[in-house]
């Protein structure tokens, strides 16, 4: 009781320090996996004295696919988002005492049985993203840009030579958002959990697969004064006769936004190989029952985090270092950051100045 009261008090203090008024943020889910239509998650966030009003009224209605969530899940996701931003407040229910929720009963954020909710991870990640985006507009200092925003639940299933069934199911990582204090974390875990990824050696020992790549994804971090963290590339080859592949992901069509003038991270991209070549799922980030054969591969390129602040304000030396590390290409150094490097990779100060002032004028 004491701890809860303390958390509520601290949260009220945090809220009352924010500028009064309403800010909004809108973000999207690619689709619900059944109907290929984008779903809107819209937040109007109002600061009214010591109270914060979180209003999701403008969000899409409940959908046929499993990206609906219940009202309590919506509230819990907002709790997680606020705790990430206001980290000093103790982790208990007191955090939500000064927070008022407006969630339409008809929306995808307040469904009841029998509406499907199995894909809830993607929706709660998007809720965290809109809270981050809205708060960044009134409190840039503690804010973070959006993280990679998808669980990328991938499963491969088949039968071994002896007839036994096998299913490999795993989640994959991506970049965290940039913030005032620094670049985003490369290959982090989802903001909704602290789960780690199984070692690829464990996956290879347990399932008939071999990873052909397990690497950082260059140019995936959202450009900004501080850069978003990098997503990853995972490429998997099937070693058994046949497997069915399922993917439940997001951010295939709507990239993780930056904040405070930062740009978005790279979108999620999933590809799979069949006898007639490489394909991408028609619904971008979700698919069921695609069959692949021995020697064919899957390739998951996960999103980077969003950038923070104007990319043209990033220290050119930091951009040069990113290029030297091979995590930003020369081309992107120029187009995203307005930084020109010479043949040795050193910043060309004059050309950079010219390019930046030209881009700033546009």
């Amino acid at each position: 009781v004491e701890l809860k009261a303390r958390a509520a008090k601290l949260m009220r203090a945090q809220i009352s320090a924010l500028p009064q008024g309403t800010v909004s943020a809108e973000d999207w889910l690619d689709n619900d996996g059944i109907n290929d239509e984008p779903l809107k998650i819209a937040l109007d966030l109002t600061i009214d004295g010591e109270t914060m009003v979180i209003d999701f009224s403008r969000s899409s209605p409940a959908c046929a696919g499993p990206v609906n969530i219940s009202r309590s899940t919506t509230i819990a996701a907002c709790y997680v988002a606020l705790k990430h931003i206001f980290g000093d407040v103790p982790a208990n229910a007191g955090v939500l005492e000064p927070v008022e929720f407006k969630i339409d009963d008809a929306s995808l954020l307040a469904v009841k049985a029998p509406k499907p909710v199995g894909g809830y991870t993607e929706t709660i990640l998007r809720l965290i993203d809109v809270v981050f985006q809205a708060v960044a507009k009134i409190a840039p200092e503690p804010a973070m840009a959006c993280a990679y925003g998808t669980i990328n639940a991938l499963s491969l299933a088949g039968h071994r030579a002896d007839g036994k069934r096998w299913v490999m199911f795993s989640f994959f990582g991506g970049g965290h958002g940039a913030h005032a204090g620094g670049d985003g974390l490369n290959h982090g875990n989802a903001p909704i959990s602290t789960a780690t990824i199984p070692p690829l050696e464990i996956l290879e020992a347990a399932y008939p697969v071999r990873f052909t790549q397990w690497a950082l994804r260059p140019d995936s971090g959202g450009p900004g004064k501080t850069r978003g963290g990098l997503g990853a590339i995972y490429e998997i080859e099937l070693l058994e006769k046949q497997a069915d592949v399922f993917l439940f992901g997001e951010r295939g069509r709507h990239a993780p936004p930056g904040v405070v003038g930062g740009s978005a991270g790279a979108m999620n991209r999933f590809s799979y190989e069949q006898s007639d070549g490489w394909h991408q799922p028609p619904m971008a980030s979700k698919m069921v029952g695609i069959s692949i054969d021995r020697g064919q591969r899957l390739r998951l390129e996960t999103p980077g985090g969003g950038g923070y602040g104007d990319p043209l304000a990033r220290d050119p030396q930091a951009v040069a270092r990113d290029v030297a590390l091979g995590i930003v290409s020369r081309e992107h150094a120029q187009t995203d950051y307005g930084v020109v490097l010479d043949a040795e990779g050193t910043v060309d100060t004059d050309q950079t100045k010219t390019l930046r002032s030209r881009e700033a004028a546009q």
Binding site: F172, L185, N186, P191, L200, F211, T212, A215
Partner: protein, 265 residues
């Protein structure tokens, strides 16, 4: 009547070097405290012993807990290290286990001890069942090792995926590196920790390579300094787990001294 027979324990701290002297023949215990000598801890070490012991030839055993490795690790002052690894996996060290530094607040970051350009790939592949899908080419390994040498690396760690299941490729590669590397500072991941889990095995082996030049050269100075004084006994180095190892083992596996100082303290 026989002369004194000493067993000596030495703990080098940031400010003082503490020496514990047991004369096994007389059953007598003495201690000494002298200022630590930053830069080369072996000087203070030897001065500390010399303040109480007349003849170093009377010392049977020296047991030493050292923070040289610990400090190099904490201050990030290990050697510039290169990693030679399986094609497709140069980022294993930096990708970790997809964790984050703090539960709340997505603001932490990790800085790998080996920068990305110093992590190079070669063609080779062992599968989880230990079968060799693709043999390693020692000539390619040598070429990559020369690249690292030219870039300024002092130490190398060779780490191949599934090396725990079959270390043949890794062994061939590490022999190729050792055949051209000017120093003994070449680590094979499976020599350090022959266990499944790529990040854990690689990160431990990388730290071994990173610490080896610093720890090994310190132990060399210590060994020759004691010999010059007439010492002819055993030197035992405290491991992170509280046990001890020979000085030669410590030079090969310096990562085991990462917490050498703290256990006896």
């Amino acid at each position: 009547m026989s002369g004194p027979a000493y067993v000596i324990g030495v703990d080098v701290g940031g400010t003082f070097t503490d020496v514990f002297i047991l004369d096994e023949a007389a059953g007598r215990v003495t201690t000494a405290k002298v200022p630590s000598t930053r830069g080369d801890q072996s000087r203070g070490f030897i001065e500390g012993i010399a303040s109480k012991v007349e003849a170093f030839g009377d010392i049977r055993t020296v047991v030493h807990g050292t923070t040289v490795g610990t400090n190099a690790l904490l201050e990030r002052k290990g050697a510039r290290t290169g990693i030679i690894t399986t094609e497709g996996f140069r980022d294993v060290l930096e990708m970790r286990r997809r964790d984050r530094p703090t539960t709340w607040g997505l603001k932490g970051a990790f800085t790998p001890v080996v920068d990305r350009p110093d992590r190079v790939e070669v063609r080779e592949r062992v599968l989880a069942d230990g079968s060799v899908l693709e043999a390693v080419d020692p000539v390619e390994v040598e070429a990559r090792a020369r690249d690292l040498m030219e870039a300024g690396c002092e130490a190398v760690c060779v780490f191949f995926i599934n090396g725990y299941a079959n270390s043949d490729n890794e062994r061939i590669a590490v022999e190729a590196v050792r055949s051209i590397w000017p120093t003994p500072y070449v680590t094979a991941a499976t020599e350090i920790l022959p266990e499944i889990r790529e990040f854990e095995r690689l990160s431990t082996a990388t730290l071994n390579a990173y610490l080896q030049p610093v720890v090994s050269s310190y132990l060399d100075r210590l060994e020759s300094g004691l010999k010059e004084q007439g010492f002819d006994g055993d030197i035992l180095i405290v491991q992170s787990n509280g046990g001890v190892m020979s000085i030669d083992t410590a030079k090969r596996y310096p990562v085991r001294t990462a917490l050498s100082g703290p256990p006896p303290a």
